[in-house]
């Protein structure tokens, strides 16, 4: 199977997502420039983290008009799995592919640290390989991750089980202290009505090898690979800090 990682001017996690897909998980992966008009036949599209177009005006506000976004919208409308990570999540919000908006973090600090997030729902292309309620230790790095939506919208997200990840304590409790940015209802990630587009502020691509402190992010990529029936091409035992998430065969 193949991942397309969109590169905007100012993306800075594009190579991390590419590395996780290609080198860690042994899949085909391609970096796609934002001015391109083709997703190169990819099965899964990733909008990576960074500061697309310098985050001028608002985070994601300019990136939304990049030519490739027409293709991403069409891909998503056809049911294709799309993952927005950090700035990619902000772009999905601005593009209207996901509901809501981001505000500056409560306290205004840029937060760069490992946090714990709970997998709330497993019926998305990016959480299908996880256990419901599984707690992942994953890094965040953002100044504007304070998720906001009108109360009616948040209510609808809760009712339709569209909240996919929540900031929690290491033991999985949803508390205000575990919320690094003030997001409403501790929201770290959501999905759309059709459940094929997922956005999250934490960086699973930065947590795919124990050498970097956590491999808990692998389950997000693993889910996408399982979903499109991809075969893992490398032999490796993939351990997560919260348990073994899978053994890759040839």
């Amino acid at each position: 199977m193949k991942f397309a990682v969109v590169v905007f001017p100012g993306s800075n996690c594009d190579h991390d997502a590419y590395y996780a897909s290609k080198n860690v998980l042994g899949q085909d992966a391609e970096l796609v420039w934002h001015k391109d008009h083709s997703l190169r036949g990819a099965d899964v599209v990733i909008l990576p983290g960074g500061f697309a177009h310098g985050d001028y005006l608002r985070t994601g506000a300019i990136a939304r008009f990049s030519p490739i976004m027409q293709d991403v919208k069409a891909f998503a409308a056809a049911g294709g799995p799309v993952l927005g990570i950090c700035n990619g999540f902000q772009i999905l919000l601005e593009a209207g592919l996901l509901p809501g908006a981001m505000l500056r973090n409560r306290g205004l600090h840029f937060r760069c640290e490992h946090v714990h997030i709970k997998v709330e729902q497993t019926d998305t292309p990016f959480t299908a390989a996880a256990q419901s309620g599984q707690v992942l230790r994953i890094p965040i790095a953002h100044g504007e991750g304070n998720y906001y939506a009108e109360p009616e919208v948040v209510e609808r997200l809760e009712k339709n089980r569209q909240i996919i990840f929540r900031y929690v304590t290491p033991s999985g409790d949803v508390t205000d202290a575990a919320n690094p940015n003030g997001s409403v209802h501790n929201i770290a990630g959501i999905t759309n009505d059709a459940r094929n587009v997922v956005g999250l502020m934490p960086h699973p691509e930065r947590a795919c090898e124990l050498a970097v402190g956590s491999a808990d992010g692998l389950v997000v990529f693993q889910s996408a690979i399982n979903g499109v029936g991809g075969h893992l091409k490398r032999t490796a035992s993939v351990a997560s800090t919260s348990g073994v998430v899978g053994v890759l065969d040839k």
Binding site: L93, L103, R104, R106, L108, N146, Y148, A149, G182
Partner: protein
Amino acid sequence: MRARVYVTLKPSVFDPQGTTVTEALHTLGYGSVKDVRQGKYFELDIEAPSADEARRLASEAADKLLANPVIESYRIEVTA
């Protein structure tokens, strides 16, 4: 024509920057400042035959790009 577009967070939306500025002003002794809301200000020079047309264009620009309707509202002033 010149259109001035003022974009601010909706009253229902928490403004972490405005709150911080308020606290800073209190630290400086300006206790009479009860609240600050921070926003963005744009000046658009527009070639348009009338103020109405300039306003229409500015409003379209604000809807499409300058403001995010989920969290922000805007107001426009047009001068010749």
